[in-house]
Symmetry: C2
Subunit: 268 residues, 2 copies
Amino acid sequence: MTLHVFDQAIALQPLGEDRFAGKTSPAYANMVGPFGGVTAATALNAVLQHPALLGEPVALTVNYAAALADAPFEVVARAARTNRSTQHWVVEIVQSGETVLTATAVTAARRGTWGVDELAAPDMPTADALGQPNMAAQVEWVRRYDIRITEGAIPTAWDGSGDASRTTLWMRDEPARPLDFCSLAAMADVFYPRVWLRRATRVPAGTVSMTVYFHAGGAELAAVGAGWIKGQASAQAFRNGFFDQTAQVWSEAGRMLATSHQVVYFKE
Amino acid sequence: MTLHVFDQAIALQPLGEDRFAGKTSPAYANMVGPFGGVTAATALNAVLQHPALLGEPVALTVNYAAALADAPFEVVARAARTNRSTQHWVVEIVQSGETVLTATAVTAARRGTWGVDELAAPDMPTADALGQPNMAAQVEWVRRYDIRITEGAIPTAWDGSGDASRTTLWMRDEPARPLDFCSLAAMADVFYPRVWLRRATRVPAGTVSMTVYFHAGGAELAAVGAGWIKGQASAQAFRNGFFDQTAQVWSEAGRMLATSHQVVYFKE
């Protein structure tokens, strides 16, 4: 059986004592280095593969210190603290002796409690109604998803006319793949830079730090399977070379799966 | 001259080679251990005091691994990567040989660029119109702030009647203190647990991880001085023992200063 291209991209070989070996995948190439979502998923995968793992992911923060070279790398994942039902992880990705990513994660054994989704998923036309992927594939990784934007597409005229930064979309892996924590972490990062939309101006931009909170457990993600995922992202402020982005990801049935926040560098 | 009580609480003594000594302050005591906002500010302070610091804070993530004991602690802050204009920090707070907090931070030398605040500050009555602090001081740290809630107060009847989780408020240090990165990081955490408001039910709750993005530079924070700060927080989803909270902090003039996101443990 051949592994799904996403599983190939995030695959790690244990090197013992908190260390794992990986390598970048050309299938998820971005403008420079790999798609940040796949790098985030790889950092999380080291935690999930770790023999000392307790529970399932609740929070993941990744900080992109440098673009990864298209080459092997090493992931170091250390359980800094293990409590009765929560565990705190410190992760670094190192390439040629230099840190290219720092990360932290919190995992926990979840228990059933009262709950409610406060933020409802946006109303939007069905993915089928849109008919086909419509996010311009200017870089390779975009072809690894079927993304159907329902609001806030990449501008086609770069005329400075933008006035809002919200994008809503449908997405799923291409080819289809059952949802899990790693693919969900990657999907939190599929939204192209908000500054392009808000300004209708294409400027260099790259994520500096991203945090993902997982609201669903593994069983719930498995139940979503390879179904459509609904996503929404918008910025709150742009200033002096950085902007932020809040994002939410729901199942097709409207169940909140993850919320995310990132800060992005931009030029000019 | 006596240091402001906040500066006393976050004070660190350099121990050389990435290490700093601090101790908890009874003035900021929470239910168990110190107010998480002050612990976040202390982690950030280690980065700001570090002799290798480049630039100013852009992003801070703190993960609360255990309640701090009311005792001395050590902060380890390491520059994992220094680029031309950004720097990546890995921080841990250790007490009695155990990790009680993990953190990462990104600092950067900011340059002037195009900018806009996309999310406008909520309209609300002035702090003066409210007349006095109105957030019930059930724990000591609340007395270190003048907090005037304009919407979404702590319920007075715990009758399960809640239906929304948004709180808007005015805040400033008490006594007054000019705003800086550390006090802004702490202010991102003043919002009491959203689960109390949403359910009108008081359950045990504690922040697990918090991220703060700084949209203003040091000069801009200095210009805000000891003025009123406007804050807003709401949850997006509650499920299986955890909920998230997004928060925004503006100057009185309505300028976005910071955006924040946290995930909080709750019981039942």
